[in-house]
Structures are given as C-alpha cells and as structure tokens.
Amino acid sequence: MKPQLVAGNQPYLAEEIITDILKLLPVKSLIRFQSVCKPWENLIKSALFITEHLHYSTHQNSCLLLKYGNFSSQTLHLRLLDWEMQIHEILHSRTFTRLIGSINGLLCLYPFVLWNPATREVRQLPLPRKQHDPCRSTTGFGYSPVVNDYKIVRIYSNFEPDGYTLTGAEVYSLSTDSWKDVDLGVLQGVELDLYLVNNVSANGSIFWRGLNSDAIVSYDIATEVFTLIPISTIPLSTILTVYDDKLALVSIKNKWIELWVLQKGIDSSSETWSWIKKHTERCPSDSLLWYTIWRNHLTFYGHYLPIHDLALYLFKIPTNEMKVGLIPEVDGDQPHYVFNYAESLVPLRQHPH
C-alpha cells in the first residue's frame, strides 16, 4: 500500500495501523470501504486480512445463530442474536430445510448451498452422487486450515436387523467444487445410528456423536481419515460444541454440568485421545431447551429454577459469574436449536491461490 493514505494535517498512518483498525470493523462497513480507494480494496480482499478479521470476529464478536421451528418443519427460519441481545432476521426459507453447519461465517444449507450471510454471497453446489434417502445419511460441514479448504461430508448407512450400519461416505470440497467417494476406513460396517445427530467442526475435523453410542465419529478434513473416539467416562446426555477451537462436550449428570475438552496427543505408535474436565457448574434447571458455549460462557436456554423465567443464562468460564439475557420474542416463536456464528469476509468463489 502506498503511503498516500493520510495526508494534510493528519499524520501518515502506517499500513499496519490501518489494518489493525479495519479488522475491528463489521463486514457491512468493510464492503462499503472497499470503494474508498484501490489500496483499501486490495487490503480488504487479501487472504491475510480476511483471516485476521475472522480471528477478531470469532474471538470478540461472535453471535448465536438461532434456528426456529422443529426438525419436521418444512421451512428454515434463522435469526442471529448478538451480545447486546438484539435479534437480526437472516433467513426464512421454504427452499432450504436444514442448516448443516456453520463455520468461519459460512453456512451450509440443505439442499446443498453455501452461504455467507454477511457478504450475501451464495454458492450453489453440485448434488452428491448418491441420491440416498436423507433418513439414511448424515451430513457434516467443516474447515481445515492445513489444506485451507471447506468440506461437506455425507456418511451413508443401511438399516439391518440389528440397527444402522455405516456403508460409505462422500465428500464435497470447495476448492475442487466436486464430490468424491471416500473410504470409511475403521468405520466401515460399524453399527452406529447417526440419524439427525448434530455435527461440529473444530481444529480441522468434523465430529458427530452417534445416538446411544459411547463413541464420537471424527473426520480429519486434511487427511480424509475417519476415526472413532471413545468417550467411556462421560455420560450419554451430552452435546457436542467447541471450546478454544477444540471439540468439547457439555454433559449433565446429577444436577451438575460438566465441560469436557478433547486433547489429541500423538505418541510414537498411534494417536491417543484424552478428555480433560475444564469446568463444572451446578445445573441451573431441569428444563433446558438447548445449551452451548458462547464467548467463553457456558450458555443455557431454558427455565432457571430460582427465577423460573425462560431466558438465556450465561456462566463465565472459569469464574461462574452469571449473566441473564432475554431473547426478544418475535411472533411468539421460541428458538429450537442453536449454532455458533461469527461474521466474516470469507469468499465463496474459488480460492485465489
């Protein structure tokens, strides 16, 4: 960038300082400011700036993405909740019926579309080659910084007398814009019900929790290898979430909530997995509708016993300091499910390099 950015009575601000200011701005402002001058346009479109902006947005500015309606509903209704407890309408669609995942400001919708709500960019994806009954497949969406690519994974299963058995998998890669079959490896033939389970992406992998199973399925986006991770000591009533860019489990047991974080260690012969208990909190309620981790807070939506109101209860990790938020009601609707979301400039065109 040329040093003509600031002249006159104002001092010349170094490119480094301008970058540090711009990366704090919302995407809406940055899109507008591309037309300030060519050096600003080039800066805002550069891969390094997009990454730095995403880092700030994820750590300091993330929102909750609330899904309205239930699993059987034929519409997809999404709203954003910001830290000031303001609601922003982002999608009410009859075309799309499911939100598969949300990472780096990109949403993967079903049937297959990638969407960046902040830049309003949409990318229509080719259809998977196996047009399986959707009940017999489960899908996940994630990103790997190692290969700088976004992938969608579909795992197929067949119903057999004893239950569902995993039979195959297909992967879409944004960088090649195509689907291909991938080997299930250790998962081939494993009996596991993955129907409508949630998936999260963290640390370059996508994770699913099997129904009534004591294992988590992981898919490494860079190496394209499936793994089964045991969770023997953690109770079954858990959800998958992300803490510190690692897979985390929030589990409820005997009125206590525990946060477990997956540590991946690699010894000389094989990968080893261990679960570290990061936080414990008295369960605020018997009737929680959903819970997640948001801005370093264990976040619950439901009725809190001493107060009894339906609200969002946030407990800071590790101090347990509590904050209560009310999700503004729109048309009497209550959010049914939650995803994490941080707005970004991540483009959906082919990666520039």
């Binding site: 600031v6 104002q10 300082i17 704090l24 507008r32 591309q34 037309s35 001058c37 830049t119 309003r120």
Partner: protein, 162 residues
C-alpha cells in the same frame, strides 16, 4: 538502577519538558530503555527526546500514570471495571484531532493497551461513516474510475456503498 529515582524528565518533539514516573514508564518498552539509559548514564544531565508532540505526549503520560498501578500489581475485577470506564472517558477527547497521533505514539512506544483502545475507538467512529466521510478524515483521493466503481457495486448486490 538507583531506587531513589522516581521520575524522569523527557522532551517532546516540540521541545517541551515532561515528567514521567518510573512505574508509568514501565508500560512502554522504549520508555523503559530510555529510563535505564538515564539512570545508568554517567552524564545524567542529558534529557531524552520522545518523538511525539506535546499535545499527544500529555495524553500518553496521563494514560500511563492511570494504568501503571494496576499494571504493576495486577487488577481485581472491580478495578478493571473502573479502569474500563476511565478508558471510555479518556477517549472522549477531541478524538478526530488527536486520535491518529495517539495511535502512532502508542505504536511507536509499544503500548499495547493504549494502542488497542485507540484502534477500537477509531473503528467505532468509522463503522457508520460513508465512503466520502472516510476519504475526508483520512485525506484519501478517490482513485477509481466510474466503471471500476460500478463493477464493485455489481460484486455486492444489495450492499450500500454510500
């Protein structure tokens, strides 16, 4: 370093003298080095110059003196809360006039806290501005042709560019 030294004198780029306490100077690595130089030097009469103008240096020293006790002892939550409120008031100065100077001074003096605060203040001011307002405060010339501008708009349908 002699423990009897509690404050040092520095010169601004305009040649004015300023006093800064030793504990406050510790918020900035370059200031701290200067301070060590002054204290260890045989020729103690030499007054170091800081390449920051007087108007800006007053604010920088005010920030250092306020933050030094907390930075050196570790803050409790209530202290941190109070300091946050003070920071907001501190940044309510005639920001457009002096903010860029504060940014450059904080960058040059390696003062992370003040730098982050000034960046956030600038971002908060800028986020609602129009493109022409941004060009005005940064004194930037529009170097796009009208075709190029039209092309940018087409890339982001539905987004406001005014």
């Amino acid at each position: 370093m002699s423990s009897s030294v509690e404050a040092i004198t520095v010169l601004s780029s305009d040649g004015d003298e300023f006093k800064i306490t030793v504990s406050a100077a510790k918020l900035s690595k370059p200031l701290n080095w200067m301070l060590e130089d002054v204290c260890f030097s045989d020729d103690c009469d030499e007054v170091p110059t800081i390449e920051v103008n007087s108007k800006t240096l007053v604010k920088v020293i005010e920030y250092c003196e306020k933050h030094a006790p907390r930075a050196n002892s570790g803050a409790s939550d209530s202290d941190a809360e109070e300091l946050k409120k003070w920071d907001i008031e501190f940044m309510k100065m005639d920001v457009k006039d002096i903010l860029f100077h504060i940014l450059m001074a904080a960058n040059y003096l390696h003062m992370e806290g003040l730098y982050d605060l000034a960046c956030q203040t600038a971002a908060d001011l800028m986020k609602g501005m129009t493109v022409s307002q941004i060009r005005k405060i940064f004194h930037i010339k529009n170097d796009f042709s009208s075709e190029e501008q039209e092309q940018l708009r087409r890339q982001h349908p539905g987004c406001s560019f005014d």
